[in-house]
């Protein structure tokens, strides 16, 4: 199928983008940065086409559903969302360099999906046959992606802050390429500010769907509970920031913890615990 080839191409573009971003980090040549971003964008366009095509292909084989129904499709969509959020930040705030810390997440997702996950288009079991699937998955994954970006930015913050503490701020050092710590801290907050309402919407659409399919909007299923845990962590982040002035290092750590919880909510729950979200079955 053509979509499979395009997904392979996407993975290669993301890998190239990541490598060129690393080169940008080391060489500080502006054109290298532009090239890295361009590769990410090309990969994004190819991936968008591939997702669209896979959607069409599912109709061709008579199943006809959005490509967001199993683990493979969700990982691919996660990678797509991460690049989208990075692209928006690249355009809006011009901090291209954060790509070096965000694109690896997208690359890891695509590489894992392409190399290890079964790529078949499966028929939808009755519980998944609903328009809520689309709304629920899109809001959740855009939220997750925003948290991924916040986590990447937070890692940058910690590296930069550490080097500043050591007094390595000699002109021309690797760190001079990083945005100022204040900007990184602000970006961390901005990404979470976008992710938090999306996660909220994701939880609500999930609850609405559960109510429609099973008659319970909340049943403390492990997936539901973990999404609430993630929500609590970021709510704590926001309150600590607004009222206790938790900025900088502590905010960065909280953001990293939040993303770890997000990844557990997304993958850990399916692979390690049991519950309603069936796509965790790897076979």
């Amino acid at each position: 199928m053509l979509s499979a080839k395009l997904f392979n191409a996407t993975t290669i573009f993301y890998m190239a983008s990541t490598l060129v971003f690393f080169g940008y980090l080391a060489g500080r040549n502006k054109h290298v940065g532009t090239a890295a971003s361009a590769l990410a964008w090309i990969g994004f366009v190819v991936q968008t086409a591939a997702i669209g095509l896979r959607w069409k292909e599912s109709y061709d084989i008579g199943l006809g559903h959005a490509p967001m129904s199993n683990l493979y499709e969700s990982v691919v969509f996660f990678a797509w969302s991460i690049v989208l959020i990075f692209g928006i930040i690249d355009i809006k705030y011009k901090y291209r360099i954060i790509g070096a810390f965000v694109m690896p997440f997208a690359l890891m997702g695509m590489a894992w999906a392409q190399l290890y996950l079964p790529t078949d288009i499966n028929p939808l079991m009755p519980a998944l046959q609903s328009n809520w699937l689309l709304y629920h998955v899109i809001t959740c994954f855009l939220g997750y992606a925003a948290f991924a970006v916040a986590c990447g930015v937070s890692i940058m913050y910690l590296i930069k802050a550490k080097s500043e503490e050591k007094g390595n701020e000699a002109a021309g050092g690797l760190m001079s390429q990083f945005p100022p710590t204040r900007a990184l801290d602000d970006l961390n907050y901005k990404a979470i500010m976008v992710g938090f309402p999306l996660l909220t919407l994701g939880i609500i659409t999930g609850a609405a769907w559960a109510n429609y399919a099973w008659g319970t909007y909340w049943s403390w299923d492990p997936k539901e509970t973990w999404s609430l845990i993630v929500w609590f962590v970021y709510a704590a982040f926001l309150h600590a920031r607004f009222t206790k002035g938790w900025v900088g290092k502590r905010a960065a750590w909280l953001s990293i913890i939040g993303f770890a919880a997000t990844i557990f909510c997304y993958l850990g729950v399916n692979l390690l615990l049991s519950g309603l979200h069936s796509y965790g079955n790897m076979s």
Binding site: P123, P126, A127, Q129, M193, F196, G215, W220, T225, A261
Partner: protein, 455 residues
């Protein structure tokens, strides 16, 4: 009240209002919630689980409520404390914010003049004429200003979206609304289950607390069917279910209800009548079959006929042999299958399996008779989840409120502009509650436009 007592009351109040408590609760709720995702929860505990933990540990978990953690007294207490904290914080802070929004300070203080971004412009007209022109400008380009005289200065003050400072309280209030919705649902509603055999009628359901709840009307199951996806590559249906479908008919005191005759209920498309909703949730066979239906085709002549086999008795086949049903299996991956024993007079019977979902397969056996298993006379039952939840709309209203509140709180900004008018010159100041860089661009454009005018 003595000073001591007042001091104590004050301390308790401060405790409930404190943001330290908020952070403690958010983090404690996050951490304790993990317990119930790792330890199995009632009523979904597999019997085999008990063998994996010691009796001492079981007793300890039982005592701590870990097997129904989210309804344990301490978890509910945490949630209640969370609500009290929310309410107390709002009572403490809301009046200040409300006052700030409804009665804004219309003059700009010395301190604010030092820290807010500022632009200066020269004035040519008289003080009063300039003041009026500036007021008209602000009114047209930003918002209608309030004019206050301070000594020999005029302070023009205009603001936009002041109410967005209340957004965060909308979010906080929405949490209380959602909690209220769940409580209403718990008190005024129930969750139950009912299994209805095809052709039968029920008027009660079993609630989760074990009580029988009368519905006030009757539900008849006309039919239940499972359909399967086609197997990839053709060759009949696969084992992957496509749809579980119940056809129900509702009656009230035996009388038909318009629009509720032969209604389809499938997963994701529930049926609601009088606030009670029926969800397709499970199914099964209601009784052991006594008749098995087959189509038997003679290989040579190609003639087909219907044959009914019964367990425990021999049936004569078209070619003179006799057959009986030995077993009925339903293994995952192969679906319903009948095991037949066919014997010639006096000889040992031959046993073979006929698959219901794979009609072409028996041809491969090479026998002179080809069997197709078409079904049994067993009746199906449909399992329906039955809910009454008068609080669910309150919950949705709360969710909507939360989304709106979050958008207001995160993406809208309270923008303020002051113009201090003096003889000969004026200064314009600006401030926004959020997204300073974006506001600065807007503010500079406003100031630039102002500087171009002759005032």
């Amino acid at each position: 009240m003595s000073t001591n007592q007042r001091g104590f009351v004050q301390q308790v109040w401060d405790f409930f209002c404190s943001l330290k408590l908020t952070l403690f609760l958010l983090i404690t709720l996050a951490i304790t919630s993990i317990i119930g995702t790792v330890i199995p929860q009632y009523p979904n505990i597999d019997e085999r689980y008990w063998a994996t933990i010691s009796a001492g540990r079981k007793a300890l978990y039982e005592k701590l409520g870990f097997f129904d953690m989210y309804h344990s007294w301490w978890f509910l207490a945490l949630l209640a404390l969370f609500c009290i904290n929310l309410i107390a914080c709002s009572i403490k802070r809301l009046p200040h914010v409300f006052k700030f929004v409804s009665e804004p300070a219309t003059t700009i203080s010395e301190t604010q003049q030092k820290i807010f971004p500022c632009k200066e412009l020269k004035l040519e007209g008289s003080l009063d004429a300039s003041r009026d022109k500036l007021a008209a400008f602000l009114g047209a380009r930003f918002a209608t200003p309030t004019i206050t005289q301070v000594g020999n200065q005029y302070h023009l003050f205009a603001q936009k979206n002041a109410w967005c400072r209340l957004g965060v309280y909308v979010v906080h209030f929405s949490i209380l609304v959602i909690m209220a919705g769940t409580i209403i649902g718990n008190i005024g509603g129930y969750k139950g289950f009912v299994a209805i055999v095809e052709g039968e009628t029920i008027n009660m359901v079993k609630a989760r607390n074990g009580k029988d709840v009368p519905l006030g009307f009757e539900v008849k199951c006309d039919q239940f069917t499972v359909s399967f996806y086609d197997a990839p590559g053709g060759g009949g249906p696969s084992q992957m279910p496509k749809e579980f479908k119940s056809i129900l008919t509702l009656t009230e005191n035996g009388k038909e209800i318009p629009g509720y005759k032969h209604v389809r209920v499938v997963v994701n498309e529930p049926l609601t009548y009088k606030g009670i909703t029926f969800y397709q949730s499970s199914y099964g066979q209601a009784n052991d079959p006594s008749q098995f239906f087959f189509t038997v085709k003679q290989r040579e002549s190609g003639k087909s006929e219907q044959v009914v086999l019964r367990p425990g008795s021999q049936t004569r086949l078209p070619d003179g042999r006799s057959a009986s049903i030995v077993d009925l299996t339903d293994n995952p991956g192969e679906g319903l299958a009948a095991v037949l024993g066919v014997s010639d007079k006096g000889a040992e019977p031959k046993f073979f399996k006929v698959y219901k979902n794979n009609p072409g397969l028996d041809d491969l056996r090479g026998d002179r008779l080809i069997f197709t298993f078409t079904g049994t006379d067993a009746r199906m039952y449909t399992g329906l989840q039955v809910n009454k939840d008068p609080g669910v709309w309150v919950v949705w209203a709360g969710c909507l409120m939360m989304c709106l509140g979050l958008c207001i709180a995160f993406f809208m900004s309270h923008k303020r502009v002051w113009i201090v008018v003096q003889h000969g010159y004026a200064r314009i100041y600006g401030n926004a509650s959020k997204n300073q860089p974006a506001f600065l661009t807007e503010f500079e454009r406003l100031a630039e436009e102002l500087q171009k005018q002759t005032i």
